[in-house]
Subunit: 159 residues, 2 copies
Amino acid sequence: MAHTLDKLDRKILHYISQNARTPFLEIARECNVSGAAIHQRVQKLVNQGVIRNSEFVIDQYKVGYQTCAYIGIVLKNNIEFQAVVDHIKEIPEIVECHYTTGKYAMFIKMYAKDNRHLLRLILDKISTIPGVANTETFQLSLEEIFRRQLSTFGVDEEK
Amino acid sequence: MAHTLDKLDRKILHYISQNARTPFLEIARECNVSGAAIHQRVQKLVNQGVIRNSEFVIDQYKVGYQTCAYIGIVLKNNIEFQAVVDHIKEIPEIVECHYTTGKYAMFIKMYAKDNRHLLRLILDKISTIPGVANTETFQLSLEEIFRRQLSTFGVDEEK
DNA sequence: CATGAAAAAGATCCAGG
DNA sequence: CCTGGATCTTTTTCATG
């Protein structure tokens, strides 16, 4: 299940997970291997699915989305999750969707332009999905304290 | 505050937010402009802070982190947030940290290798931070339903 | 699996409109 | 703010150890 990553793999992940445009040759120099080696390793990691994709991270606040919230969703009894997920997926403002154990059936992360927009999305788009019993909103303050990627890639597995 | 993005800016953001290694020349072809134009636009977006950074997205499950949780944190009265944040930042398994309004003072996202590790992190690392009154954990199921970036960049602002 | 060298593709710079 | 072209950098391929 968990892939075995050696030191070089982890070093590569460390660099490219912080900056997807780091030149492979630069990583190669840091690691004292050839550029081709980095290229082959990255290729392998992509094939193994360890690397999912790459993306430029956009500052949502600067493109007009001033509000963000986590929302816990409680479902009615005997509801088929997948049907609800299908509806969730149709709402572009929702950027993450997870199943949870405990209090809520699902947990989502959603952006909105402002508080009014947030309320409209919850009342008009989410609460009206068949099967949704109720929701609880945890509104995040405008200031995101930090956001980063996990950087302790499989430390302790092998050497 | 919110930057005005025209159609071309949005198209560029659309492509590079899905794949940070999309060649600019390819985007240029799609948009019927020169490669230099894309280059200049991206530069501008970076300078404006609309583009924050780029990253390769790692599959945490494949590198040994089987568990993920959102955790709401309640603080004791009269606690200085920053001191708590400083402690939070020291825990590498925590990948997001936000202030929240309402029930909790803060909301974090944290990865762990397994349930035992998760519990250890909560009890030994988080609960012991001076000022933390209590925490509530929403454990996410192993299967992340989806995760994507917001793709409706400032739609409706200008043309 | 790594290497170095060669070929192909892309990024960056710049003068000009 | 765009363009085309020159130039420099990076990626990718491949034969070899």
